[in-house]
């Protein structure tokens, strides 16, 4: 009887229909993660083209127009195709298991959220093949340039609408799940930090993505339907686009980093074998960062000219973000303090994150200072800054999360030696690529250009060597993941000695349906150790 019940429980369609029609959070999580992985390589390939062109001064590899299209698509695909879907994939796999829910609250909507993505990404890629090519205005798609480009821009606008809709539906689902589906005893202040950071991120998504959708709709009506929101020729204001865009854009930056904070807050206590230091302050710091992210947008556009009072306001609010961020870094370090630490691959990525993300945070503080920003604006210093935040921040956290949870998902341990190679090569090549870009920016090299003055040649050469190494290293990551999915040493239920949480109480791999009966939450299942 029990066996029959289990067998029924494990039933799921096979073949393509399993993936097309699935409403299972684990299947949808897997779809998101593979989609993000593919997009990571697509956008990474574009980065290789950029760095090949920039390896030497002069024009060698691509036409300038194509170079601009690559900078634009690299960013759009990495942000909307790789990092965001990867986080949503992690949320799909983990959030229901972490709060003891049987699935997401709205499983069919969950399926639709994912299946909006492949057509959106296809549209974005197709823009390369229409007359005029893909937009080359940068991911910020500022008018008036984007009012004057070919139909590739229309493809992009439609694609952004679809990506935004997918994100909003995903966010809505995550909030609904967390608020309504928690197991008995899993009160809000007992939730794992990854769930907390995702709850706050989902609210950010819900408040930011409709603004992006609104502003690109206005761009579309300006292009085709006779409105003049942003066209100065008809009384519109191009600077208004920048304000509205960055009202979305800055919370977006935190959408890309808050779930990473959550991941790091799961990994560090596990491998320090200690409860997370300052759980409550972590939650409040995350909420403070989310609130502040809505009142700092104009620091992206200090150079457009605004009243001094405005510049001061945005400068100070931006600097204020360093306080809750500092609280987080302090708590991570304090969690490790006198912990019984081991350095498996997820922990290496987490410690790498703490070091390198902090460098990105500090260069962000430098950029927040108005008079300094006038020098740094639109230089390679900015490129270095946001790659420290987005690569060594978001992407390295995602990689750490994959190593951390892959044994749980697949039931197999990954190859630890290869994992460590992957970490060290990634960390070294990342720094070879992006650290010199600080110096290039300080020396005045502008971003988004295919050619540059001779004085910048040496640092660019190093940066390109690092980028090629970084790109090739990620093939090792693909190999490790595929190898682990296909087989390997059997993972235990708890996987890691110091792991606490409901997801570590179910077998590895977990059954197709988990927690159909709500679990009992015990103190030892809580990351906070309460």
């Amino acid at each position: 009887m029990a066996q029959a019940a289990t067998a029924h429980h494990e039933e799921h369609p096979s073949g393509i229909t399993r993936w097309l029609y699935t409403t299972n959070h684990k299947d949808i999580g897997t779809l998101y993660l593979w989609f993000a992985f593919i997009m990571f390589f697509v956008a990474g390939g574009m980065a290789m083209i950029l760095r090949a062109e920039l390896m030497q001064p002069g024009l060698q590899v691509v036409e300038p127009q194509f170079f601009n299209q690559m900078t634009t698509l690299h960013a759009l695909v990495m942000i909307f195709g790789a990092i965001m879907p990867a986080f949503v994939g992690l949320a799909n796999w983990q959030v229901p298991m972490m709060v003891g829910a049987p699935d997401m609250a709205l499983p069919r909507l969950n399926n639709w959220s994912f299946w909006l993505l492949p057509p959106a990404a296809t549209l974005l890629m197709l823009s390369l093949f229409v007359p005029g090519g893909a937009p080359g205005a940068g991911w910020t798609i500022y008018p008036p340039l984007t009012l004057q480009t070919g139909m590739g821009m229309d493809f992009t606008i439609l694609s952004i609408h679809m990506l935004g809709m997918s994100s909003v539906l995903g966010a809505l689902n995550i909030i609904t799940t967390i608020l309504n589906m928690r197991a008995p005893g899993m009160s809000l202040m007992k939730m794992p930090l990854f769930v907390w950071t995702w709850l706050i991120t989902a609210f950010l998504l819900l408040a930011a993505m409709p603004v992006l959708a609104g502003v690109v709709t206005m761009l579309l009506t300006d292009r085709h339907f006779g409105t003049y929101f942003f066209d100065a020729a008809g009384g519109g204001d191009p600077v208004m686009f920048q304000h509205v865009f960055w009202f979305f854009g800055h919370p977006e930056v935190y959408i890309l980093i808050l779930p990473a904070f959550g991941i790091i807050s799961q990994i560090i206590p596990t491998f320090s074998r200690k409860p997370l230091f300052g759980y409550d302050s972590m939650v409040y710091a995350t909420a403070s960062i989310a609130f502040l992210s809505f009142v700092v947008w104009a620091h992206h556009m200090f150079t457009v000219g605004m009243p001094t009072a405005g510049e001061l306001f945005f400068m100070y609010t931006t600097m204020l973000i360093a306080v809750p961020t500092g609280v987080k870094v302090f708590n991570w370090v304090s969690t490790m303090w006198r912990g019984s630490m081991t350095f498996e691959t997820p922990m290496l990525f987490a410690i790498g994150f703490v070091f390198l993300f902090t460098i990105g945070g500090l260069s962000g503080l430098m950029l927040a200072i108005v008079p300094a920003d006038f020098q740094y604006h639109d230089t390679y210093f900015v490129v270095a800054h946001f790659h420290y935040v987005l690569f060594s921040g978001s992407i390295m956290a995602i990689m750490g999360a994959v190593y951390f949870w892959l044994p749980k998902w697949t039931g197999h341990m990954y190859n630890e030696t290869l994992g460590k190679w992957h970490f060290w090569l990634t960390a070294i090549f990342f720094n070879v690529t992006f650290f010199p870009q600080h110096f290039l920016g300080l020396a005045g090299m502008p971003r988004r250009i295919p050619d540059y003055a001779l004085q910048f040649a040496e640092f660019n050469w190093w940066s390109s060597i690092g980028a090629f190494g970084l790109g090739i290293t990620q093939l090792l990551f693909l190999y490790i993941v595929v190898q682990t999915v296909r087989g390997g040493k059997k993972a235990t239920t708890q996987v890691w000695e110091g792991a606490h949480g409901l997801e570590w109480t179910v077998p590895s791999p977990p059954p197709y349906h988990t927690f159909s009966t709500p679990p009992k939450v015990r103190p030892q299942d809580l990351i906070s150790g309460l």
């Binding site: 966010a171 609904t176 928690r182 409709p210 929101f229």
Partner: protein, 39 residues
């Protein structure tokens, strides 16, 4: 706010629907506000 304790399946379904409709409406309202506040 509402853990699964003490709720019938019907009450939980209603709570889920309520949360989803409120959040969805907010998102649509924000989208329309972005455009029409600048019309």
């Amino acid at each position: 706010m509402m853990a699964r304790t003490g709720k019938t399946p019907a009450q939980r379904r209603a709570a889920i629907l309520r949360t989803a409709v409120i959040l969805g409406s907010l998102a649509v309202a924000l989208y329309l506000f972005t455009i029409f506040s600048r019309w």
